[in-house]
Symmetry: C2
Subunit: 496 residues, 2 copies
């Protein structure tokens, strides 16, 4: 280990602390900040962002990286850490300060515009601000493509999933596009032949739902001395080592949505709580990327918690905590509710069969937006045609269509695919885990997540960002990311 | 206005944002952070502290200040702002980086040691860490004395109260030392001739007490769209413009302590919410100093809320929200409870008659610690003798004596006097307000704080840090800080 490398560790720990301070300020804004705090909080976040950027572009840091890279590091963790430092440096230094500022201003404006346009289904009102974001994102993609030596869309993807290219995603999603529609039709047909699941009668007071959420997350292994559960408009996970914060929202008429949101965020939270302690505050000690992160939330929510095994344990617990009575509380009914499939317009409400179809639409549209093949003005038309083709339904208005997500307004291009890559990875990991540790399903049936969690800790969480998605999957499951396990999962859950 | 001054405003707004980010991280730590977050939070706070320090000592800032000071600013707010910038710069630049770091390490160690020593009443265990803090504080006082051209203790005081010297405090406290003991004896005698007040029977569930606190703070004018109430071990106020957070703690056996803590922090909060909007994020738009801050909390708590007028309105409200029954809920009993006087060992539990005696002891001891006239090893002996002399009682052990406060362990010297300066200022301001606006007391009797709040907004809050304590008091009350109003207040409340 060289002095330069050591100094880099010190500097990146400092940067990580500033990043995590920002994350807490974001968390606070989404959960408990009074409305009057918006302006001051904006100033705080901007000031912190500027400080981090200044520190990433100062010449001394570049010199240290150059020097540290002269000598190969023996320790694979150190070597990976150094590579990740360089990667972060590249992202920060690829762009002129002017472009960064213009982008920040354009996305703020577009989010503001989107907040008005969505409820009004007013795409024309959103278009000017949206066009500006797309235009600047193309510039950013071009600049980063040069810095990373990859294609423009891949350069955007790199931030969220560095080991899988746009072409590889095309191949995976192409296979899904072949099999999913037929599979979906067979599932809907078979589902129609069974009795409809029935939602237990509410209302379910928020504080009882919160108590239930806390019971379930603790059951799954979330350590509440090192994290907490709160409420926000959209569930998310944030925090720092030893202090992982997950959120949910409560629908007093339907507790199942908050239960599954809690299990989803618990999956994210377990990953964060299981990251390697020895490397905390270093890039290599952080989560690997968004594919792996999403695989962990979907593994806990979709793969583990929507099983008859887990629900046989959870159903009486839910009934007890929520004070329910009657037949709708039987595990079998709750299971059918948890795996109910139905086409819909809204991605975040989609079941796991339809979800990838929503993602495929967005992925192909954002690639075309970046390449210039799709003009921002044509987004509603292309969206609606894509929905008809992929999901078989056409939204009545853009509020249910191309205006539903905040991602593009806020400048997040290259993020959507990781939701479905995560779903594939979740299926592949869960399948391997069950083969390697037969006690996992028995465990779930008695509310014991330990066999599963131990496997995840060892094969995923403890790896931090040491491995790429492909390396991690190959080591844990014997193969790189593919669609087979996901297809088999759908077949087994819905058709066998 | 010069370009240099404008650039200074930009830089100090950026620094204020970083400061407020730190404050939120502190608030979160004291209120809701899970225990596992301590290490990461420590890193975040240290990283932010370092960034702020770096920005305060960079040569460019010094050049800008020099340049801006060449030309007199016509606008008194700008002129005051520039002077405050220079003052902040002086505090940051008076000390070598080595000394700052050594002090930070020594106080962390001393606080840790104090946390163990206090419950064990183990002064000998605390002494080594304490000695180190005193030794470094002497160095700091010396360095700042040179930078500010004042005596060493005054240089420490400067941070919390810049317009009153140690000698002036001696004169004020000397007068209190003359009159308070006799006054206290007469009050105790008179109190003994009346029936003892009785605490209503609990328990009082925390959520009801919280609801009561929210009712009362809103009554007093606290805007809950621009702030909130939470729970912490020790009540405090923090936050940023538009987002002022006050805290309290709940004793389920005694709701009166939390009610008065809420009113106290509400006083701080109203001040923060009333600071001049046009100058938010600038030094001159911040609170003037700790004397004025404490005057605002004590004015709302001690001067306004412990009156028969306010309690005649609040008593039925308290009974209703807490679901109480019986004679103990009568306003007269609750008033006698609120102004009950009794000697005790613990400063934070002291009534307003005894409180200054606790402060006088600490003030004279910390001055002697800084001058070198008092050796840290002799603190327990001097403390106990001082308690006997001033309060008339001697603690059984140091946990009830010199180990009770965290201030010295954490390096806060020069802070204690502002508690009692604030009490004097509160009495003086309240007296002037009542003379100028006769409707104030009628307002309190009907739960209407508006006449009082309007006066405070105009005469105190809206001034920000434009005026020194002495200027502010002279403008608002016609005279600089003195003991008369406080003495008259005690006479009127307890003896007339």
């Amino acid at each position: 280990m060289t002095a330069a490398y050591q100094e880099l560790e010190r500097r990146f720990a400092h940067l990580a602390a500033l990043d995590k301070a920002q994350e807490l300020l974001h968390w606070d804004r989404e959960t408990i900040m009074p409305s009057g705090g918006a302006v001051a909080r904006g100033e705080q976040l901007a000031a912190l962002g500027l400080v981090v950027h200044e520190k990433m572009v100062e010449p001394g840091l570049s010199d240290l990286l150059d020097e540290a890279e002269q000598r190969a590091l023996q320790d694979p963790w150190q070597a990976a850490n150094l590579a990740l430092m360089r990667r972060e440096w590249r992202h920060a230094n690829a762009l002129d300060a002017d472009l960064v500022e213009a982008f920040s201003r354009a996305t703020s404006k577009a989010v503001e515009s989107w907040l008005e346009a969505r409820p009004a289904a007013d795409f024309a009102g959103f278009l000017p601000a949206f066009r500006e974001v797309v235009c600047l994102t193309r510039e950013i993609a071009q600049a980063k493509a040069e810095a990373f030596g990859v294609k423009p869309y891949d350069a955007l993807l790199e931030r969220f999933e560095p080991s899988i290219t746009g072409d590889e995603i095309d191949a995976l999603f192409g296979r899904l596009a072949e099999v999913l529609p037929g599979l979906r039709d067979r599932i809907l047909e078979q589902q129609a032949s069974r009795p409809e699941p029935r939602l237990p009668d509410g209302p379910f007071p928020a504080e009882r739902q919160k108590a239930l959420g806390e019971r379930l997350m603790t059951l799954a292994g979330f350590d509440t001395n090192r994290g907490r559960l709160d409420v926000s408009a959209h569930p998310f996970t944030a925090g720092a080592p030893g202090d992982i914060r997950i959120t949910t929202r409560f629908d007093e008429a339907d507790f199942t949505s908050s239960v599954m949101a809690v299990m989803h965020e618990t999956g994210h939270g377990l990953y964060e709580q299981g990251l390697p302690q020895d490397w905390q505050f270093q890039p290599v000690g952080s989560a690997a990327n968004m594919t792996v992160h999403e695989s962990q939330s979907l593994l806990i929510e979709m793969q583990a918690s929507r099983t008859p095994e887990f629900l046989s344990h959870a159903a009486p617990l839910m009934r007890e905590v929520l004070g329910g009575e009657g037949e709708t509380w039987q595990a079998e009914n709750l299971h059918r509710l948890a795996i109910h499939v139905a086409p819909g317009f809204i991605r975040v409400d989609a079941d796991e069969v339809h979800y990838p179809l929503h993602i495929m639409l967005r992925t192909r549209m954002e690639r075309d937006l970046i390449s210039g093949d799709l003009d921002p003005a044509d987004v509603p038309e292309v969206w609606n045609a894509g929905m008809a083709e992929l999901v078989g339904i056409t939204p009545d208005h853009d509020g249910l269509g191309c205006l539903q997500d905040i991602h593009w307004a806020s400048g997040l291009f290259g993020y959507f695919p990781t939701y479905s890559l995560g779903a594939l990875a979740a299926a592949q990991l869960f399948c391997a885990a069950r083969e390697q540790v037969p006690e996992i399903m028995q465990g779930l049936a008695s509310g014991n997540f330990s066999p599963l969690l131990e496997w995840l800790r060892e094969n995923v969480h403890a790896k931090g960002a040491l491995l790429s998605t492909q390396e991690l999957l190959t080591q844990a499951t014997g193969a790189p990311l593919a669609t087979e396990a996901f297809e088999a999962h759908l077949q087994q859950r819905y058709l066998d």
